[in-house]
Amino acid sequence: MREKKAKKIVFNSAEEMPTMIASVGSQTHNLTGAWRNIRPEIDLAKCLKCGICWKFCPEPSIDIVDEWPVVDYDYCKGCGICAEECPAKCIVMVEERK
């Protein structure tokens, strides 16, 4: 399930579907980054590595990569919580290119 960018499921016939209405794939196929109006950008130079942005991201679309916070723009919806909560104020929300 956690595997990112899982594939979309296409059933070509009723036959292929399990009898019970049970999930067979991961919602990660859905790239919610497309919902974003504004995007968070992290200035790692100022980052305290406090993990707060990671902790409060509702997607969660902040990954810890090599001990640094990294936004996964495939999924980040641009809510702005990380920027709001970052104690170092090192995340800024910028407009998505129109």
């Binding site: 919610t32 497309a34 919902w35 974003r36 109006n37 504004i38 919806k77 641009g78 407009e95 998505e96 290119r97 129109k98």
Partner: protein, 180 residues
């Protein structure tokens, strides 16, 4: 019968735009059907709405698959999804954008028109630049480009249907009508 599809994002008032248009069109005695995409709408997520217009009662209650025109309320959608899906060959695409029609890849195949509704909205203090409320400006442009109804009818529909800043909205519609 004219069929139009609207593309926008949750929270942008796409459905309201189609509703106002329907009101305006009905004022001149036409029959109209307007409906949102039948799904779960979330702020930011792509949403769709439809209008069907005819001069007699509309019996077809199925969805619109091959619209005559497409209206794009949020320009970023042009890249995110295929807004031309099902559009009749030569159909009109109206995009809220500061770019020119030629800047869009489907220009030529379709009749592309642009209108900077965001600018008009912001000028008339409808929402903020981050979240402009563009539906009335869009409506103004649409009725002009597609020749759907009179500007007075649209103005009346806006005054009846929009309770916050109706006059500013009318102005935005008028400006868009002029510019389109």
């Amino acid at each position: 019968m004219v069929e139009i599809r609207f593309h926008g994002r949750g929270g942008q008032g796409t459905v309201v735009a189609s509703k106002i248009l329907a009101d305006a069109i009905a004022k001149e005695g036409n029959w109209v059907q307007a409906y949102p995409e039948f799904g779960v709408e979330r702020r930011g997520s792509p949403v769709v709405a439809f209008i069907r217009i005819d001069d007699k009662q509309i019996y077809d209650k199925s969805r619109i698959y091959t619209p005559d025109s497409v209206v794009v309320v949020d320009p970023t959608l042009v890249e995110a999804i295929d807004i031309t899906d099902g559009l009749k060959p030569g159909g009109t695409i109206i995009i809220n954008s500061d770019r020119r029609p030629e800047d869009f890849p489907f220009h030529g195949k379709f009749n592309v028109r642009t209108i900077n509704a965001t600018e008009i909205a912001v000028k008339n203090k409808l929402g903020s630049l981050a979240a402009p409320i563009v539906n009335t400006a869009i409506a103004g442009a649409v009725i002009k480009i597609l020749g759907l109804t009179k500007l007075e009818s649209l103005a009346a529909a806006i005054r009846e249907g929009i309770s916050i800043k109706p006059e500013d909205n009318v102005k935005a519609a008028e400006e868009a009508y002029e510019l389109a």
